[in-house]
């Protein structure tokens, strides 16, 4: 029946949002170090976390396109050391600002959670 179908959709979208936010931060942080192509980002983030690619490495690309659309990264064709053509992404000033704000927000949230958890334990 239609009603439950709609509910299912809503729950799924929320989960995606949280994952989206985390992936954004990781990608922006990675690109802040140096501009690189999608594969390079995968390698670097792969070193930091394995959670991000639960669904596959390919999910990076929709995220990159979204970040570009939102104006937080920009991209251009460049040649790699092996003379291959690859699309390189770099952070824009706006993107850097957004990363700062997101990190600050993340800090605040995790501190609040820690406080609550500590309080719960201390009892």
């Amino acid at each position: 029946m239609l009603p439950s179908y709609i509910e299912r959709r809503r729950v799924a979208r929320e989960r995606t949002d949280i994952m989206q936010g985390t992936l954004d931060m990781l990608v922006l942080k990675a690109l802040q170090v140096e501009p690189m192509h999608g594969w390079g980002i995968t390698e670097r983030i792969g070193q930091w976390s394995e959670q991000a690619f639960q669904l596959g490495q390919g999910t990076l690309y929709p995220a990159l396109y979204r970040l570009e659309r939102q104006g937080w990264v920009r991209s251009e064709w460049r040649t790699t050391d092996n003379n291959r053509r690859a699309r390189y992404y770099s952070v824009t000033p706006r993107g850097a600002r957004h990363l700062q704000e997101a990190l600050a927000q993340y800090e605040r949230t995790s501190r609040a959670i820690r406080l609550v958890l500590d309080a719960a334990v201390v009892r």
């Binding site: 239609l2 192509h37 999608g38 594969w39 995968t42 669904l55 596959g56 490495q57 390919g58 999910t59 690309y61 929709p62 396109y65 979204r66 570009e68 659309r69 939102q70 104006g71 291959r84 053509r85 690859a86 699309r87």
Partner: protein, 894 residues
């Protein structure tokens, strides 16, 4: 939600679709190759490395779609895809598409035309500044049952005593058209005499020179004239006419100003204006002469202004009325906004036509909905497949809706296009009725209304099948397996039957309107107008400019000269080949059906004795030359007509109309020989003859009581010439030459045949009849088509049953008779519904009818029978064809 920037990015991406796709593919390829290389270097064989790399990457298609979603304007592309798909579907069914689009085009085209007219005439304001404060002076005189407009007395009186008016002006057109000489060819020009306030009240600011001032209005002031730009350019070309002299009606006037091109003087096409110089001492109250227009002070309502005027009336009686006995006559100010004055009762007709077009549109929509219903029915298997593949209700609705929208766009565009092409010719057809001061055309507002109508039609056309779909419970499995669900089809049939009943009912109402108008028109044509064979009577106006006065002792010589000139013209005209009779009427308002007239309001004194009841009569006045009545072939009922002897000896004689004679004297014979005057000591005129009644005011109005006198001294006269050649250009040339033979400075104006005037008088009825007949005819066609369709559908549903019946020995006639009876039941229901509806609706048409009651039984009966007959024919044909199948075919195909 996307920021505007992001929306812009998405839109841009529409144009770079292929590049984006290529880029994505290249990036993915690069990524997978790098991952493969990494695995190879870790020691895996090439094939295994690639397999692992692909696994790690994840679902390729999903990634592609996700990435595309991020970059592209998905909703827009989906829309485009829907449109393309819908368009292909429509192209595959050209018959359906053409029919539906044409029907919609007919409805929307007609609606657009009506919108333009209604918007241009009724809804748009007059092209004058502050037009919502402009009013026309008028009074209601209940005792005489008439409406009196303005007069010099009311102009002076209200100007002095009514605070509610910011300004008031008076104007007249008695001497129009005037003969203008003094620069180039003499010509007769439509003109208006105005007091100085009129042009400024209408906001006419001269582009050259100045407008009139109070000084110009004073009798004896240097004569001035103001021209329209059109006339000034025609007369003087590029040079400025300011300061030049024009001889207007025998008076040399200085041109002091030129009005802008866009200025329209009410509905008259006056090209030159000169001051109306009233002599206050001669003003008389009550009387009716000319018209007055005023601008109200801001914030003043009509009621307040009327009250103010009523308060000023006693002063008018005091100053201007010679006959105080009339003071107890109830005289009520009755202002009307200028817009209402100009539009008149056209509003009723227009709204009526609008209503009928609306009904036609409804029928067209119902037909399109019908067609869509059939189409959707046949697509049910496809729609079920879509639903099974995951399309929600919205997606399926979108499919149906897109097709309906495409048809709406095509039909709408076609309809508006046809309306655009036809509007000018339609407007010129109705030119006599539509006020020329309003500009009628298709502008933004009209287009918006048409678009909204098209949108509404689309909603109805798509809504009906969708509603019917959603109300049904479609068994997916059964349908996919291919067997037709009978319950679904039956519901489809019921909906269509309902639609047909509605269509037939609406068609009946429209046809009834048309039938009533036909009878009305017929009655109008049967009215005996008071003249015969008007198409062979040529009329024209002629102004003989006489310098100096025509009144009193001083004017006697001038009067004689005027009469001699007019008589000489008559003689010359009579000598023109094929001319049978000639005559003239004094003034520019003396002929029947010319839209104008003069009235006399008196308490008649017969043979010195005042009328017993003391009530004032209102009589139509004509001043005619000997020969006019004979030229028009207005019959003489008793006594004799006016002769030149009477005219030259200035004998006080008069003729009266038959109804007047009956009313005042009992019979036409009794009237002859009586002497009538307006007061005990006034000159009494002897009634020498009685003529038949002439419908001066229009064929739908009763013929007024008329009194006819010998010619009176006025510059302008209307000539009539009876000849089989009337109306032809060569004849007019002969007439013009005859006039020039008398005086080369004279010019003909307003040549038209009496037949033209008769047609003009009938034009409103003609137009209404034409439009109602067309809509009625179209409605019947559409309704009958609907019946045909329903019967075909019913037959197609029951093919199997028909086959069995035929196989069992039933005659084709019996089988088709089944369906015909059923269809007639539907049509009968529709007719009954229509008759019931018409009882309420025909009252709306009552104002347009003449000589026919809205409840006219024969019309109702005739229309019902015609509709039944047409519908039974259609259903008969359809059923006959449907029942003509071979039973073996049907049974074999199961």
């Amino acid at each position: 939600m996307d920021t505007p920037r992001e929306v812009w990015q998405r839109l841009r991406s529409l144009f770079h679709r292929h590049e984006l796709d290529a880029r994505l593919d290249e990036e993915i390829q690069f990524h997978v190759e790098q991952q493969t290389e990494a695995f190879r270097q870790a020691g895996l064989p090439a094939a295994e490395a690639r397999r692992r790399a692909l696994l790690h990457f994840g679902g390729m298609q999903g990634v592609r779609e996700e990435a595309r979603d991020q970059m592209r304007a998905a909703p827009l592309e989906n829309l485009w895809r829907d449109v393309r798909y819908g368009w292909r579907g429509l192209c595959r069914a050209p018959g359906f598409t053409a029919m539906a689009a044409l029907m919609l085009a007919a409805g929307i085209g007609a609606a657009t035309v009506m919108f333009s007219v209604v918007h241009g005439v009724l809804l748009r304001p007059l092209p004058y500044p502050d037009q919502d404060r402009l009013v026309e002076i008028a009074h209601h005189v209940p005792a005489l049952g008439l409406r009196q407009l303005a007069s010099p007395a009311t102009y002076f009186g209200y100007r002095d005593h009514v605070r509610a008016f910011e300004a008031i002006g008076h104007w007249d057109w008695d001497d129009s058209p005037v003969t203008v000489t003094g620069h180039g060819q003499p010509e007769a020009v439509p003109s208006a005499e105005v007091t100085h306030e009129v042009l400024s009240i209408l906001g006419a600011v001269p582009i050259l020179g100045r407008s009139f001032s109070a000084a110009d209005d004073r009798p004896g002031a240097p004569p001035t004239v103001v021209l329209s730009q059109r006339y000034a350019t025609r007369r003087f070309g590029a040079e400025s006419p300011i300061g030049r002299t024009l001889v207007v009606g025998g008076v040399a006037r200085e041109v002091i100003g030129v009005l802008p091109d866009g200025f329209r003087f009410f509905d008259a096409d006056a090209q030159i204006f000169y001051p109306l110089q009233h002599v206050r001492a001669e003003a008389n109250f009550p009387s009716g002469d000319g018209r007055a227009v005023a601008r109200l002070r801001p914030g003043v309502t009509l009621a307040q202004a009327n009250a103010d005027m009523a308060g000023a009336l006693p002063r008018l009686w005091e100053e201007f009325s010679a006959n105080h006995r009339v003071e107890d006559l109830e005289y009520r100010p009755d202002l009307r906004y200028l817009k209402d004055s100009v539009v008149g009762d056209l509003g009723d007709t227009l709204w009526l036509l609008m209503g009928t077009i609306g009904l036609l549109l409804l029928i067209a929509c119902a037909n399109v909905a019908n067609l869509m219903l059939v189409r959707t029915q046949s697509r049910i298997p496809e729609l079920i497949l879509r639903s099974a593949l995951g399309a929600g209700r919205l997606a399926i609705a979108r499919v149906v809706f897109t097709e309906a929208a495409l048809i709406g766009v095509i039909g709408g565009a076609l309809g508006v296009g046809v309306a655009y092409v036809c509007l000018p010719s339609l407007v010129s057809l109705a030119a006599d009725d539509l006020p020329q001061v309003m500009a009628i055309g298709i502008d933004a507002t009209v287009l918006l209304m048409s678009a909204l109508t098209a949108a509404l039609a689309v909603v109805v056309a798509a809504g009906v099948p969708l509603l019917q779909l959603s109300l049904g419970r479609i068994d997916h499995a059964e349908t996919l397996r291919g067997s037709r669900s009978t319950s679904e089809s039956a519901r489809g049939l019921r909906t269509r039957q309902l639609l047909v009943v509605g269509q037939v009912a609406t068609a009946l109402v429209l046809l009834l309107g048309a039938a009533l108008m036909v009878r009305s028109f017929d009655e109008l044509r049967r009215v005996s107008p008071g003249f015969a064979e008007p198409s062979t009577v040529q009329t024209f106006q002629l102004s003989v400019p006489i310098a100096g006065t025509l009144d009193g002792e001083a004017g006697a010589a001038n009067r004689e000269r005027l009469l001699n000139t007019q008589r000489a013209i008559l003689e010359r005209l009579a000598a023109v080949g094929s001319v049978e009779a000639v005559g003239f009427a004094s003034g520019n308002d003396g002929l029947p059906l010319d839209g104008d007239g003069r009235q006399l309001s008196i308490v008649p004194h017969v043979d010195g004795v005042p009328a017993a009841d003391g009530v004032s009569r209102v009589w139509e006045v004509q001043n005619v030359s000997p020969g006019l009545l004979e030229t028009l072939r207005t019959r003489l009922v008793a006594g004799r007509s006016i002769t030149w002897d009477d005219v030259l000896t200035e004998r006080p004689v008069m003729l009266v109309s038959r109804d007047l004679a009956r009313r005042e004297f009992g019979s036409p014979q009794a009237a002859v020989g009586r002497r009538v005057s307006g007061s005990p000591e006034g000159i009494a005129a002897e009634i020498i003859g009685v003529v038949e009644d002439v419908h001066h005011d229009g064929l739908d109005q009763p013929a007024p009581h008329t009194v006819i006198y010998p010619p009176r001294p006025r510059d302008t006269a209307t000539f009539v010439v009876r000849s089989p050649r009337a109306g032809r250009a060569d004849f007019l040339l002969d007439v013009q030459r005859a006039v020039w033979a008398v005086d080369g400075q004279l010019a003909l104006a307003r040549p038209q045949t009496l037949g033209d005037m008769y047609a003009q008088a009938m034009s409103r009825a003609t137009l209404t009849l034409l439009l109602l007949s067309i809509t009625g005819g179209l409605a019947m066609l559409l309704g009958v088509a609907g019946v045909y369709g329903v019967v075909s559908y019913a037959v197609s549903l029951r093919r199997r049953e028909i086959g069995i019946r035929l196989a069992l020995g039933a005659h084709r006639k019996e089988v088709s008779g089944m369906f015909v009876r059923h269809a007639l039941g539907l049509v009968g229901a529709g007719v009954l519904l229509g008759l019931v509806a018409s009882f309420g609706l025909t009252r709306l048409i009552a104002s347009q009818l003449f000589g026919v009651s809205p409840m006219d039984a024969p019309s109702h009966l005739a229309v019902a029978l015609v509709l039944l007959a047409a519908a039974s024919l259609a259903s008969g044909i359809s059923a006959w064809r449907g029942a003509g199948l071979q039973p073996s075919d049907v049974l074999r195909s199961e």
